[in-house]
Structure formats: C-alpha cells, structure tokens
C-alpha cells in the first residue's frame, strides 16, 4: 500500500545496551498495513535484538514505539500480543510435547466454565485450529498431532498460524525459511503473500535474497546496530542489498 498513509508500527530512535555492549543505536523502522518489510544485515548487526524489542521481550534502553500512531510501552510479549503484534521466532518457540492446536492457543486458551471452575475448552481449540489452518491452507494430519512429530516446514507453518490466530495486525518473522527444505520455502513464502493480502503488515528478517525479493515491498539494512540503508524493492538490486549487508554503499 502507499507509504503516505500512517504506518501501522513505527520505531523511533531505538537504542539497546547489554552492559557495555551497544546492540542497537538510534534505529528507526516502520511498516504499513499490507506491506512486507525486509530487514537484512550481517550476523550481529542487531536484527534479532530489534525484533525482540518490537515484540516486548527486551525493553529498549532509549527510543519509543508507536502502534497505529499511538506511543506504546511494552512490558512483556503479552502486551505486544494484545496490540496485535505477533512474532515468529527463529527457534520457532513451539512446545514439541503439545499438540498443534494447544501450541497455537498457548497462553490464550479458550476456556469454558464448569460451575466455579474454568476448564480448557478442547473442542473449541480443535474447531478454531482446524478453521484457521484451513484458512491458511496448511495441511496437517490432525490438529491433535504433537508438534515434535511434524517436519520443519510444517512446524514453521504452525508457528505462522500461531502468530495470525488472533487477528494480528503486524507479524514479525525471524528467518522464516532458515532450516527448511527448498520445497517448503515456497509454501512459507506463499503464506506471507496471503497474509499481506489480508492487510497484515509483515516484517521479515532473512539472509536469503530470494526470500526478500519474492515477498518484500521494501528492504532496510542494519549495520553494526545502526540504520545503514533503505529502499523500496523496485529501486534496488540483489547486488546492492548484498553490498549493504557487508557495509558497502
């Protein structure tokens, strides 16, 4: 969508110290509805730290976050989830011992009242899971299957399904295609494209130029914890973006 409209999510002047180490310094970022922003950078450039600040897992040392134009202070991932900001972590953040449905609703399980007791509503979990997986065209044998029995691509799909199950407005994905077979990469990228169509703002961190150039509308590069370069995808090239990652303009 057009970049003149208000951004869904905007980060201004984000700085993060870990002791004496400066992981991020004065970093700005914004993403609009229906837009996919690619974030690239070398190892240690601060991509994952920035995403963890956005998801509320880390508190920034300085700087502010604006969600739909309003300043928000995130104390925990629960706060960002309540705003409609979801994160798909690189290590997937799924509990392998639990079934797919319970992973998708982990921390936000639907319950039913039995007298004074609040019990988990397993039928509702299953029902909602099946409907949601259908909507995203994710195929699994059953919502009751344990996550540890799934392939890497299926796990990634579950992680993405999890992030979008609660009307997410912004979904942040950290290396969504790392550790996937080639066949599975395409499916995940299709999933990102269909998210964009529903008006979700997507932020993708990736090392793979193929991913960036398939799904992103805009790309920004971090270098040693600072904003290094940014461009809409149509005005740049793979070689230029690879140069940014290495700190060359």
């Amino acid at each position: 969508m057009s970049s003149t409209s208000n951004p869904l999510l905007e980060a201004k002047g984000i700085t993060k110290y870990f002791g004496t180490i400066t992981a991020l310094e004065n970093v700005n970022l914004k993403v609009h509805a229906g837009e996919c922003l690619g974030v690239v950078g070398d190892n240690g450039a601060g991509k994952s730290t920035l995403m963890k600040v956005l998801s509320g897992l880390y508190k920034p040392s300085a700087g502010s976050l604006f969600f739909q134009g309003k300043e928000e202070i995130l104390e925990s991932p629960r706060d960002s989830q309540n705003l409609g900001l979801e994160m798909v972590y690189q290590d997937l953040a799924l509990a392998g011992n639990l079934p797919i449905g319970e992973n998708i609703f982990l921390g936000r399980e639907p319950t039913k009242n039995l007298g004074f007791l609040k019990l988990l509503d397993f039928n509702k979990i299953k029902e909602l899971t099946n409907a949601h997986l259908d909507k995203l065209k994710i195929n699994v044998k059953s919502a009751d299957q344990k996550v540890e029995e799934l392939s890497g691509g299926q796990r990634q799909a579950v992680a993405i399904a999890r992030s979008t199950a609660f009307n997410a407005k912004v979904v942040i994905m950290d290396e969504p295609t790392a550790a996937l077979a080639i066949k599975e990469v395409g499916k995940v990228l299709d999933l990102i494209n269909s998210l964009k169509k529903t008006g979700v703002g997507v932020i993708v961190i990736s090392h793979r130029m193929d991913d960036i150039f398939t799904v992103c509308d805009r790309v920004m590069a971090l270098f040693q914890g600072t904003n290094f370069a940014e461009s809409s995808l149509s005005n740049t090239s793979r070689d230029e973006v690879i140069g940014w990652i290495m700190g060359k303009k």
């Binding site: 925990s76 290590d91 509990a95 392998g96 992973n103 019990l119």
Partner: protein, 337 residues
Amino acid sequence: MEDKDKKIESLHLKLIPYFEKYGILLLLVLMILVMHILQPDVFLSWRNVTNVFKQISWQSMLALGVFMVIVTAGIDLSVGSIMMLSLMILAVVAKAGAPWFIVVLTPLIAGFLCGLFNGLGITLLRMPHPFIMTLGTLYIFRGAGNLISGGTPISGFTDEVRYLGHGRIDLQWLGLEKSQYLPVSLVLIAIVYIIFWIFLNKSKTGKWIYAIGGNPNAARASGINVNKILIIVYSLCGFLSGIGALILAGRTDSGYPNAGLQSELDAIAACIIGGASFFGGRGTVLGVFAGVMIMGILRNGLNLMDVSSFWQQVLIGSIIVLAVYIDVLRRDIGTRK
C-alpha cells in the same frame, strides 16, 4: 505396497498414544497377577490390599508433588525434608495443646511455605538448576526440623489429627465384615489424585506447566509468566509434602527425626517408573500413581515372601532402569521418520 505402509503407519499413530498413556498400567496389572500367583491366599486379601494403600499413602503425595516439578524439567530433592519439618511442626504445635483443627492445618501451611521458599529461591536467586536449591533446602529443612524438636521423637496425637492417616471408613452397612474397612488415606489419595489430574489436564495453569517443560522459551514468548508458574509448582509440591506429613502423623502417631529420610528418592523413582521424563513435559498423573503402586506392591510382595530388604533395593533399582529402557525403546518407535 504404499497403501499397506500407510495402514501400518496410521495403526502406529493410533496405538502409540494409548501405549504411551496406559502402557504402565499393563506393567502394574502384570505385577499384580504375578504376585497373586505367587501368594494366592494373601496378596489380594482385603487386609493386604488395604495395607498396600496405607503403606503408599504418604509416598504417593510426595511423588505427585515431585511429578509436577519434573514436568517443568525441574527436580525437588527436599520433599522428604519438607515432610519431616512439617511433621515436627505439627508435633510441637500438638504438644503445645493447640486445638485439633489448627494442628491439622499446620503441616499444610508449613509444607506450602517450604515449597514457596524453594520456588522463590529458584526464580529470584536465579539458581542455575533446581537441583542445587532443593539440595540446599534438603539439609536446611531437616536441620530446622531437628532444631525445633531437639532431635527427639514427639509422640501422641489426638484421634482427629490422626484421622487422615489412621482413620477407617466402616463398610458394614454394605454387608461386609468389620475387618473389611476402607482406610481414609485411600480415599484421600483418590481425591487428591483426581483434583491434580483435573488441574494438570484441564486448567490453563496445568497446560502451561507442560508447556514450560516442553519449551520454556515458547512459554515465555507466549506471554506466560514462567517464574510465577514455577513458584506455584514448587509451592504445591511443598503443600503435598505437608499432606504427606499429616498422613504420616496419623500412621505413626509420632514426629520422629528420621521421617521421610531418602523418601525424595522414592518419589523420584515412582515418577520415572511411571513414565515421567527428566527432560520435562512428559508424564501423566495416572502414570505416577502406577509408579507408586508398582513400588508399593513390589515391597509388599517381597515382604510377604520373606525376601530380604536388600533384594528389594536391588529389584527396585532394576525396575527403574528397565522402565526407562522400555521408555527409550518406545520413543524410538514413536519418532521413526
């Protein structure tokens, strides 16, 4: 050919969960059968069966507490000491002449507070592993128990205090004989296990306990307050040890310095035999019950056959290793890809 493979695979998928859930019960039933064949007159008699339940009554409380902790991939070595300290506090309060309803509450509160102490230590002091914190409190609580009692047994409680551990529910109205009574402790085990089964399987907190054991990072990223849940788990474990103390007070009519010595190891053994995984996230309440029963029946059966207690140790140890090996084999089948 492919169809056939698929059929076998779906059969596996269908059977494995049942085997995972109820396999341990098969072992229990098998053991009961073997004991019955070896001791046909005695083993399944009313008297002996109620005896087994009375013997496992307090261990089953410790095992259930330790089980919850193990599900979070933690460990609690202090349950035996918590029970001893709670028992000693009960004894001192009883000797001071407090009314019975206060005496009955003291071990529960003491146990809960001991567990809370463990939980706060593990989370707030950021101990690298619960093993260390609870190893420390294993000594602290037992030392404290001896300090308040002077290291000597304190005996003699009222019938109300002894009710849970020693009480009998008369079944003569069912046409049974007077000797065929139901021990109150058996009913207590059933009630507590059912409550905790519901808690672990049907409540949000219970589900989060399993999630933390499966992947603590996933739980944290889902907005679950992992430290809070851990504190709840260790506190409940202490509370169950307190119930164990109350039962033991009824059974022995005495608070004594060696109460619950090494019983933390029995509790851990019961969980492991019952299929709980040390890596967390795996195991069922039913499994723990089966684990406690297997250990109780083994001890009881070997006693009936006059086998020396040294052999009992060897056999229980062997069953732990065997049970875990069966678990390893089962997982090989379960995750074939």
